[in-house]
Symmetry: C2
Subunit: 333 residues, 2 copies
């Protein structure tokens, strides 16, 4: 593993630092597609990271997430912030996955130089792409975006990964989303720092708000989830009503997001999360490179072939073979 080969990307990095959108897009592609070069780029950009506020928008299909993302993006712009949008949902218009009409309806975002839109969903399955979501946010963070809005479809593990990448996760529901118990079952209750009942001009919105509030109260009283540091995190997720199509409630939602950010900062949760996230990142990178480096060594691949044959000949077992390789590759303690 070498992270010193920056020669090919140094010009790109200089352009990136100067604010070039083209360079940013190119670096994002490297981060998504070229793991080795990605390490070098991300290492280089690391000192620029840590300033952006990362907002996750999740919820079931049909909850109006894309429209909400658009309106939150606009509201951020109104407040003078630059915006990055990362779409992990393949059906999102931000991913080009919806009718062209949707893109046409939100031209102010698509043409605003203060908005950078990146779709992670156009090149393959959601699962794999989600793995790079954090790194994509890291690049946009280094690019100087004040707010990064991550839009993701509500599906299991992906959601958890993204909740891990965001500072604040907004769970978006609609009055028709079904009862709050279903929501909790789907794991959405666990990850919501804020709840948004969108399309709240429809029937059942107030009941939905009440149900969520009840669930939130139950949750606050029960032991921690892995996303919280219980001793210091006394945040009670608020429930906000919006009508994303008209923008109703969106400023209030952003106000609550700002409140949550302040809470994260003053309570020490942010520091704690950051420590956890750095630690997890070091562990993950080490394990990834460990695997790669071990099998890439010619002595180890020879040894693997030889030991495989020995097992087939009855001279050893896979267990002893693995032990032997471990002894070879690990330095003495």
């Amino acid at each position: 593993m070498s992270i010193g080969s920056e020669s090919t990307t140094s010009e790109l990095l200089a352009e990136f630092r100067a604010g070039s959108k083209r360079a940013c897009a190119r670096l994002l592609s490297i981060v998504e597609d070229e793991p080795e070069a990605a390490a070098s780029v991300l290492d280089e950009l690391y000192p620029l990271m840590g300033r952006a506020f990362r907002i996750g928008i999740t919820g079931p299909p049909g909850a109006g997430k894309s429209t909400l993302v658009e309106k939150i993006g606009r509201e951020c712009r109104n407040r003078g912030r630059t915006v990055g949008i990362v779409a992990v949902d393949p059906t999102s218009p931000f991913s080009g996955g919806a009718l062209l009409g949707d893109r046409v309806r939100m031209p102010t975002l698509f043409t605003d130089p203060g908005v950078f839109i990146r779709s992670m969903a156009t090149r393959g399955g959601v699962g794999g792409l989600a793995a790079r979501t954090k790194e994509v946010c890291d690049v946009l963070d280094a690019y100087g975006r004040d707010c990064i809005i991550i839009e993701t479809v509500g599906v299991g593990q992906v959601e958890l990964d993204i909740a891990g990448a965001a500072h604040s996760t907004v769970v978006t529901l609609v009055p028709e989303s079904g009862d709050a118990i279903q929501t909790m079952k789907a794991g959405l209750m666990e990850i919501g720092d804020l709840f948004c009942v969108n399309k709240s001009d429809r029937e059942g919105a107030d009941r939905m708000v009440m149900e969520i509030e009840t669930m939130v109260e139950m949750k606050v009283r029960t032991p921690s989830s892995e996303f919280r540091t219980p001793a210091i995190d006394d945040w009670v997720p608020p429930v906000v009503k919006t009508v994303a199509t008209t923008g109703l409630g969106v400023p209030a939602l952003l106000d609550q997001l700002e409140q949550h950010r302040k809470h994260l900062e003053t309570s020490g949760v942010l520091t704690e999360r950051r420590r956890e996230s750095v630690r997890a990142e070091i562990i993950e990178l080490t394990e990834e490179w460990l695997r790669r480096d071990v099998w890439r060594r010619p002595d180890v691949s020879d040894r693997l072939a030889g030991l495989t044959q020995q097992v087939l000949d009855g001279g050893t077992t896979p267990y002893r073979a693995a032990e032997a390789i471990l002894r070879d590759v690990l330095a003495a303690n």
Copy 2:
């Protein structure tokens, strides 16, 4: 990592070798629940493995897999073979997941000393348990079972894992299962060494058989899947009609399974698959233990804490930190 601590299990192993069902059940629990002790047990049993014929039975819910497993088990017994049954499907009566009536309806299996039934589905999610399916089969193999029948519900990755653990995979469908194209889409076409149209006394059975045969023919003509060695594997998966409830067609199905086994042996596919599987097992064990051993080292965990702090202080990056740990733990090439 130590695989030399067999003292606690040595009595158990002696009982196991003497044929004790109790000892077999206990060792299976160790293999499922205690990774460290499992390595020692499996290493010890390794020389006893490699004799059993491992049959995977998969297909969509409602295809009658459990009844088919029961009848195949009986037919094996009729032919003088001992049987092991491994149920990965939580809804299987073998897992206790169905009506007690189902278990009562197949008493000859549940009370036959020549049949050992193990459910892997009663203790948690299917995904995690499936990971240990191969090892459970290994133990039953060492126990001297002639045939091991693995019953699994048809769901994505689990299926692939189990197809990897079985010598012959029977994909079970019913006339109502929908068209063959759907089956192929679900990945079942890829893993079937044999196809069984169960409940074939129902309408549409012959059409189903024809559709599958057409798909099989298309598949034989197209490039390999990861489960085959194309150059030497010219097996054309047969389609067998059964009515599992009456036992109709089950002897023919077992005949075809025996044919497939012979084919695997004479064509060299078995040898090739065995080499691949040993190699994969060594790699998997090495990676698992590598991860474990690295983070367990006190010097490394101190280093991780120190480097995490350095990253937080802006003195380094997660990328350089991971590199530093790699340098510490990997022996010089």
